[in-house]
Symmetry: C2
DNA sequence: TTCATATTTCGATATTTATCGAATAATGGC
DNA sequence: GCCATTATTCGATAAATATCGAAATATGAA
């Protein structure tokens, strides 16, 4: 991972609300993703005070940084984190 | 570490030039810090195209996030990273 | 003390960002 | 086909940010 990409990852995690969003997705059970009963965006939205358009915007930035993946299940959106991406960015700053 | 603090850490690392600054400080030998022959800001400045005021600004943000520490040695400023801070922030997003 | 070097502060500016409300799409249930 | 729900897009705005050049400060050397 080069530093430009890492900076993008860190930028995606640099907003408090967006970081919270990431953490909530991370805490939903990844194992339930395939069953479609994992992390629904609508449930996360309800736990935030900020509006849906803003959350949609934040989600897109996390996606763009490849920190998460999403999948449409009918009317709902299921989310999960891509742990490797955060790990790769950390490895850069840890100079490994 | 709470998520507000972590967001601040990530914000400090979210600008490409600031991240480069952090990495250059990280790569200077920490063991040489006490001898005063470690990472001089002036040497780092010369390896950037951006101006001194901007670097000073970025340095302050890294300091403010406690990602680095600095010490004045006569006319020069010596810098070193505080590895623990980056590690703590990463532990939060790794959900450890 | 005068000078050169290192660093910070100040003031300005152009860009980016977070957020909102309104409108729009997509989807499944009735 | 109509409606409720979910999610995105659009347009606007206020705040934050990166950057610059000029000026100021600090420090050691001559």
């Amino acid at each position: 991972m080069d530093s430009k990409k890492a900076a993008k990852i860190f930028k995606a995690l640099s907003n408090p609300n967006r970081l919270e969003l990431y953490l909530k997705i991370a805490d939903s059970h990844e194992s339930e993703f395939d069953a479609g009963c994992g992390c629904f965006l609508v449930d996360i939205m309800n736990s935030f005070t900020i509006g849906a358009p803003t959350i949609s915007h934040h989600l897109k930035e996390l996606l763009n940084a490849e920190l998460i993946e999403t999948e449409k299940r009918g009317k709902l959106l299921v989310c999960r984190v891509n742990k490797a991406m955060a790990e790769d960015a950390f490895r850069l700053i840890a100079r490994e």
